[in-house]
């Protein structure tokens, strides 16, 4: 006869309960209370309706819908929400995850395959979650002769640099994590970190394939950074500002891709090269050097690098949208809600529907975000498309394209922009 606990002793049971209670009391006193005090003393707590929202009051309010709404509103306007959730890292990571799935499925359709199919009932929709779980549960293997500190830190730095890139991209009017006056320069400063991180991680793995891949990445990124920067100069000439929000707002009438198609093409090609996408994926050429600079990464370290590179893909696409496609500008989908509806609610016969404090965001905001996401998704589609169409190019062809075709085209674009300014088409007194 089987029993659940064959050696059950009541005294042991009581002892275990007392022990657990003891540890809970000790940990709460030593960690919980100081944490609460730190929050109370050092964190700037928001004031809503004249009441200082302490953690205790916040918990009380959360149990009441009407009081929870202003709390939610104040959270939505806080910096923490911007950095972690909406225009910042959370949103970018979500788009990145979507991009990975769409890429696999779309490539499969382009190549007449099925793609992810079995995981999840509908078209393998859960494949991504499965892959994530697999990566998290895998063991992290560090090569014996690797330079451990650098090897461990490199994936984190890569994700961090990608997140810093995302923080500079405005998504809707006023919705940007860091609205700096020299935004475009800050973008170039952040882009400059990627080759360093790549080559350091490649070196620290102390293995041949990562090193070859890292050196290739360095060649590629450094040589394509120059036409990338030059192709943005035209936009800066026309708008007279480096602030990305102002650049996006300057395209209310006409997006710059119409006036400067050459610059947009150069920027797009350089973007592909900076992102190591096919046809420029020499750093990770899987048929020659295993996985390039990613060869020695395993488990979640590989997952972090992959997340970072797709977040970077989103950030570059969003930058293309901001610079050339007019950012969030576009016709408003729905007219703004009437003031009466907001104040007194909607009466439907005997039922009166009123929710004070709603809607949380204005209709213009929704329209802006929808336009921005649609445009970014379109650019991401065109970034993914070459992978199903083109073969990988040779490194000498790559450097040839980067060093003189693209740089020359970028200079042509600058002269086009100068011509537009001097002809009076754009700028003070111009048509746009």
């Amino acid at each position: 006869m089987s029993v659940i606990a064959p050696r059950f002793k009541f005294s042991e049971f009581v002892k275990s309960i007392i022990e657990n209670a003891f540890w809970i009391v000790v940990i709460m006193t030593l960690v919980g209370l100081p944490m609460a005090m730190i929050v109370l003393f050092y964190v700037d707590l928001p004031v809503i309706d004249g009441a200082l929202v302490t953690p205790f009051l916040a918990l009380t309010w959360l149990s009441h819908p009407e009081l929870a709404l202003p709390l939610l509103k104040s959270f939505l306007t806080s910096d923490a929400f911007r950095i972690l959730a909406f225009p910042g890292f959370g949103f970018a990571a979500l788009v990145a995850a979507g991009t990975i799935f769409v890429e696999r499925k779309m490539l499969a359709k382009l190549q007449l395959r099925v793609g992810p199919f079995y995981c999840g009932k509908i078209e393998g929709i859960l494949q991504l979650a499965g892959d994530g779980l697999k990566l998290i549960s895998k063991e992290i293997i560090i090569p014996a002769k690797a330079d451990k500190p650098l090897f461990i830190v490199a994936p984190l730095l890569f994700v961090g640099a990608a997140a810093a890139f995302v923080a500079l991209i405005p998504v809707a009017p006023g919705w940007v994590v860091a609205d700096v006056d020299v935004g475009l320069l800050a973008v170039f400063a952040v882009i400059g970190f990627f080759p360093i991180i790549t080559v350091l991680s490649a070196w620290s793995a102390n293995s041949k394939f990562p090193f070859i891949g890292g050196i290739r990445a360095l060649y590629q990124m450094v040589s394509f950074e120059i036409p990338l920067i030059l192709s943005c100069l035209g936009v800066v000439l026309l708008t007279g500002t480096l602030n990305l929000t102002e650049i996006a707002q300057s395209q209310q009438v006409i997006p710059w891709i119409v006036l400067m198609p050459i610059g947009a093409i150069v920027f797009f090609i350089c973007m592909l090269a900076e992102l190591e996408r096919i046809p420029f994926d020499l750093p990770e050429a899987e048929s020659e050097i295993v996985a390039g600079w990613l060869t020695e990464f395993s488990g979640m370290m590989y997952g972090l690098v992959q997340l970072g590179s797709y977040v970077k893909l989103y950030a570059f696409s969003a930058l293309f949208v901001v610079l050339f496609l007019g950012g969030w500008s576009g016709p408003v989908f729905w007219p703004p809600l009437e003031q009466e509806l907001l104040e007194s609610g909607q009466t439907l016969g005997p039922i009166k529907l009123q929710l004070p404090g709603l809607p949380l965001f204005s209709q213009e905001f929704f329209s802006a975000v929808i336009w921005f996401v649609l445009k970014t998704a379109a650019v991401i589609f065109f970034v993914l498309l070459p992978r199903g169409v083109f073969p990988r190019i040779r490194i000498d062809m790559l450097l040839r394209i980067g060093w003189y075709k693209l740089i020359a085209m970028a200079f042509v674009n600058i002269f086009v922009a100068l011509g537009l300014v001097y002809a009076g088409v754009v700028g003070p007194g111009g048509i746009f």
Binding site: V180, V182, L185, A189, G192, W203, W403, Y404, I407
Partner: protein
């Protein structure tokens, strides 16, 4: 707040500068050098000139540090440096540095620069640009010529065919 940031940046800059000189591993030395250059960018940010700070990061950390890393990784260390170091040389170096720093410090302290207090807002980079176009245009044109000469030179170098192959073929 600014003082705390200044202290932290000073410690970072000086500590990583010393580390860049003293570390035996050249790659770590290059990383420490990046820390120094980044710290200087931080000083520019504290001085309300983000334009210069961003260029400091983009050019020094993003390009020059990459160049150093590239050189360090591709060339074997023993080929670049032969280690000549003993106690006397080391002490002489430290002494020379102290003398240089003391004299520079004396010059700076006596110049009256520490007595300056100003509440004027930082100069906008647009004004600097306008000045370049209006007042200092010869310098701007000269810079443009030098830079385009450099770019053309780089492109010519990239275009250069390897003559050895032709000689072998011929």
């Amino acid at each position: 707040m600014a003082d705390a940031a200044f202290l932290a940046l000073s410690v970072l800059t000086i500590a990583s500068a010393i580390a860049a000189l003293e570390l035996r591993s050249l790659v770590y030395g290059a990383i420490a050098l990046m820390g120094t250059l980044g710290g200087i960018a931080g000083f520019f940010l504290l001085l309300d000139s983000p334009f210069v700070a961003m260029f400091q990061i983009a050019v020094y950390v993003g390009s020059i540090a990459v160049l150093i890393l590239f050189t360090v990784m591709l060339v074997r260390r023993e080929l670049i440096f032969t280690k000549v170091e003993d106690r006397r040389r080391r002490l002489a170096g430290v002494g020379l540095m102290l003398v240089a720093m003391a004299s520079l410090g004396a010059v700076i302290v006596n110049s009256g620069i520490s007595g300056i207090t100003t509440d004027e807002p930082a100069v906008d980079f647009r004004e600097i640009g306008a000045d370049f176009l209006v007042r200092y245009w010869p310098a701007l044109i000269l810079m443009g010529l030098v830079l385009s000469g450099a770019v053309t030179g780089a492109m010519v170098l990239a275009r250069r065919e390897d003559t050895e192959d032709d000689q072998r073929a011929g």
